[in-house]
C-alpha cells in the first residue's frame, strides 16, 4: 500500500485535479502530439521558443492522473531553460521513473515526486508521454507514439 501512496503523492493528485498551463501559450511556435495506443491517451504539447530558450510551454489532451500531472509539472520545470537543458532533464526524468534513481548531485526538483512510478513499470509510459511530445515539438516533429 505504501507503494501506491508513493505513486499517487499529493503533488501528483493536486496537478491532476488542477493542471497548470493548460492550452497553448501565447505566441506558441512549436507543437507536437503524443499518443499512447495502449490506453488511447493523447497529449498535445506546444511551446514558445525564442532562440535557444523555451519561454513557455502548455499542454492539452486527456490522460490518467500520472500523465496529466507529469505534463503539468513538466510545463513548469522546463520554462526558461535551454534546449540542451531540457534534453538533459528528460534523460534524468526517464532515469528517475524507470529506476527510481537520480544522477549524483542532480536535483529534479518537484519532478522527484515521480520516483514512485518505477515500482509500476506499466505506468512509465504515462509519465513520459508528454516529454516525448515536448522533444518532438522542439525537434520539429508533429506526432509521437509510445509504441
Amino acid at each position: 500500500m505504501s507503494e501506491l501512496r508513493e505513486l499517487y503523492q499529493s503533488v501528483i493528485l493536486d496537478h491532476n485535479r488542477s493542471p497548470r498551463n493548460r492550452g497553448e501559450p501565447d505566441g506558441a511556435n512549436r507543437r507536437a502530439e503524443g499518443h499512447n495506443p495502449l490506453c488511447g491517451d493523447h497529449v498535445i504539447v506546444s511551446a514558445r521558443v525564442s532562440g535557444d530558450r523555451i519561454e513557455a510551454v502548455g499542454f492539452d489532451g486527456r490522460g490518467c492522473a500520472i500523465s496529466t500531472a507529469s505534463a503539468s509539472l513538466m510545463t513548469e520545470a522546463v520554462r526558461g531553460r535551454s534546449q540542451a537543458e531540457v534534453k538533459q532533464l528528460f534523460e534524468d526524468f526517464r532515469r528517475l521513473v524507470t529506476s527510481g534513481e537520480t544522477r549524483p548531485a542532480c536535483s529534479l526538483g518537484k519532478l522527484e515526486v515521480f520516483a514512485g512510478v518505477h515500482e509500476f513499470p506499466l505506468r512509465v509510459k504515462c509519465a513520459t508521454l508528454c516529454w516525448h511530445a515536448l522533444r518532438a515539438a522542439l525537434e520539429g516533429g508533429e506526432s509521437v507514439s509510445t509504441e
Partner: protein
C-alpha cells in the same frame, strides 16, 4: 449436480495465489481465460508422451499425435453442434478466422460497390479485416448503430441492408458491453437479402451454449484461449459446402493434393485452410478445455455467470460516481465502467494493488469508445470460476480508489 464455483476454482492453479499480499480476484477473462489443470496436463502429456508431426508419419508417435488432433477436432465439432468435423478449421485465434473469411471468400467473390455491414460494438478484429478487404476490392463498409444501452438497433440495421449487401460481420457477444446479439433475427434478415453472416463468437462460446446449426449463421469464429484452452489456437466453423466453395487462404504444406511446377491442386476441407504444421498441442489442449466445460455443462456455466452478473450489477450500482456502459437486457457478465473523476488506468493500478485484476483501456474497440464519448473504460468480466468474493473484492477496491482520489 449443483454448480460449485469454489470446487471449480480449485481446478485452476493460477487462482490459488496472492497478488500484492491479497488473494487474486481475476476479473479479466474477457481478455483471456485462465486454464484448468486438465488443459495444462493435456498439453504437457502431448509433448512428454505423444508428440510428433501429424499426418503421413508411418510410426507410432505420429499416429498418436494425428489421432489426438482428430479427436480434438471431433470434440470441438460436437461442442459447437457442427454437422461434420471437417467444418472445424484450426486457426490461431478468432482474428485469424475472420481474416481467413475476408481473404478467401471476400477476395474471390466481392467486388467494387459490394457492401459489408458490421456494428458499432465490434472489436477491432471484426473491423480491420473488413476495412482491408474494402481497400483491396473496392467494397463499401456500412456500420449499424447501437442504442444507449448498448443494444444493436435492429430497425437501423435492417435499413442498412441492401441488394448490394454481401456479408454481415457481427459479434455474438460484445467484449465491452456484454450485449448478446439476436443472431436468429439477424440470420433471418440476412437470408432475406442473400447476405452471408459471419459471427465473431470469441466472447460467446466460453459463456453460452452455442449450436452453430440452430444459430443458422454462415461462419462462426472463436479463440481457444478465451475458452479455457491454450493461446495460439482458434476455430473457424462454416458449413462444409461453403468451405468447399472457397479458395485457400495460406499456401504451403498440408493444404495440397498434389504439387507440380505446372499446376498444384488443393486438398479438401479442412486441410485446404490449414497450411503448415498446426498448433498440435494447442488443438489438443482446446479439446481438453471443451471436455472440461462440457463436464460442467454450458447451461450451468451460463446460469452461474448470469446470477453472479446480477449480483455484480447490483453491487456496482451502489458505488458512488460509477457509470456502467452496456445495460442491454439479457447481457453477458461483462461490466465496463467509468468512475467519475478518475482515469481508468488509475483505477486499474489501484485495483491491482488490492489483488483485483481488471482491464483498463479501449478494449480494442475504439469506435465504441467514441460512441460513448470516453477515451477508455475499466472492464470487469466474469467467468465460471468467479465468486461473490471476487465481486466484493472489486467493490472494496473501488472504495480504495475513492480514498486515494478523495
Amino acid at each position: 449436480m449443483s454448480f460449485d464455483a469454489e470446487r471449480i476454482r480449485r481446478d485452476f492453479p493460477v487462482l490459488q495465489q496472492s497478488v500484492h499480499g491479497k488473494p487474486l480476484a481475476f476479473l479479466d477473462t474477457a481478455a483471456s481465460a485462465q486454464k484448468p489443470q486438465c488443459v495444462i496436463d493435456a498439453v504437457s502429456e502431448m509433448y512428454s508422451r505423444d508428440y510428433a508431426n501429424v499426418h503421413r508419419g508411418v510410426y507410432e508417435l505420429s499416429l498418436r499425435a494425428t489421432r489426438a488432433l482428430d479427436d480434438a477436432r471431433e470434440r470441438i465439432a460436437r461442442f459447437l453442434g457442427a454437422a461434420d468435423p471437417r467444418e472445424i478449421v484450426f486457426v490461431r485465434n478468432a482474428t485469424e478466422a475472420i481474416n481467413l473469411v475476408a481473404r478467401s471468400l471476400g477476395d474471390s467473390r466481392f467486388g467494387p460497390g459490394d457492401e459489408i455491414v458490421l456494428s458499432e460494438m465490434e472489436h477491432h478484429s471484426n473491423i480491420v479485416p473488413w476495412q482491408m478487404l474494402c481497400e483491396r476490392r473496392g467494397c463499401v463498409l456500412r456500420v449499424a448503430p447501437i442504442d444507449d444501452r448498448g443494444a444493436l438497433r435492429l430497425d437501423a440495421f435492417e435499413a442498412l441492408l441492401s441488394p448490394r449487401t454481401r456479408l454481415v460481420a457481427l459479434s455474438h457477444v460484445s467484449n465491452v458491453l456484454g450485449t448478446v446479439n439476436p443472431i436468429d433475427r439477424i440470420v433471418a434478415l440476412c437470408r432475406a437479402r442473400g447476405a452471408l453472416l459471419c459471427v465473431d463468437g470469441a466472447q460467446a462460446a466460453p459463456h453460452l451454449p452455442v449450436d452453430v446449426q440452430s444459430l443458422g449463421c454462415d461462419f462462426y469464429a472463436l479463440s481457444g484461449h478465451k475458452l479455457y484452452g491454450p493461446s495460439g489456437i482458434g476455430v473457424l466453423w462454416a458449413r462444409a459446402e461453403l468451405l468447399e466453395s472457397m479458395p485457400p487462404f495460406l499456401g504451403g504444406g498440408g493444404m495440397i493434393a498434389s504439387v507440380h511446377f505446372e499446376k498444384t491442386t488443393y486438398a479438401g476441407i479442412p486441410a485446404r485452410f490449414e497450411a503448415g504444421t498446426p498448433d498440435i498441442a494447442g488443438a489438443v489442449g482446446l479439446g481438453a478445455a471443451v471436455a472440461y466445460v462440457e463436464r460442467i455443462g454450458m447451461d450451468a456455466v451460463a446460469r452461474h455467470e448470469h446470477a453472479l452478473g446480477e449480483y455484480a450489477a447490483q453491487a456496482l450500482a451502489n458505488v458512488p460516481g460509477l457509470r456502467v456502459f452496456g445495460t442491454a437486457p439479457g447481457k453477458a457478465a461483462v461490466y465496463s465502467f467509468e468512475l467519475e473523476g478518475v482515469h481508468p488506468h488509475d483505477v486499474g493500478t489501484i485495483l491491482d494493488a488490492e489483488g483485483v485484476a481488471v482491464r483498463a483501456g479501449h478494449h480494442c474497440a475504439q469506435p465504441l469508445m467514441e460512441r460513448f464519448g470516453v477515451p477508455a473504460m475499466v472492464r470487469a468480466s466474469l467467468a465460471l470460476y468467479n465468486t461473490r468474493a471476487d465481486v466484493d473484492a472489486l467493490v472494496r477496491g473501488l472504495a480504495r480508489v475513492r480514498e486515494v482520489f478523495a
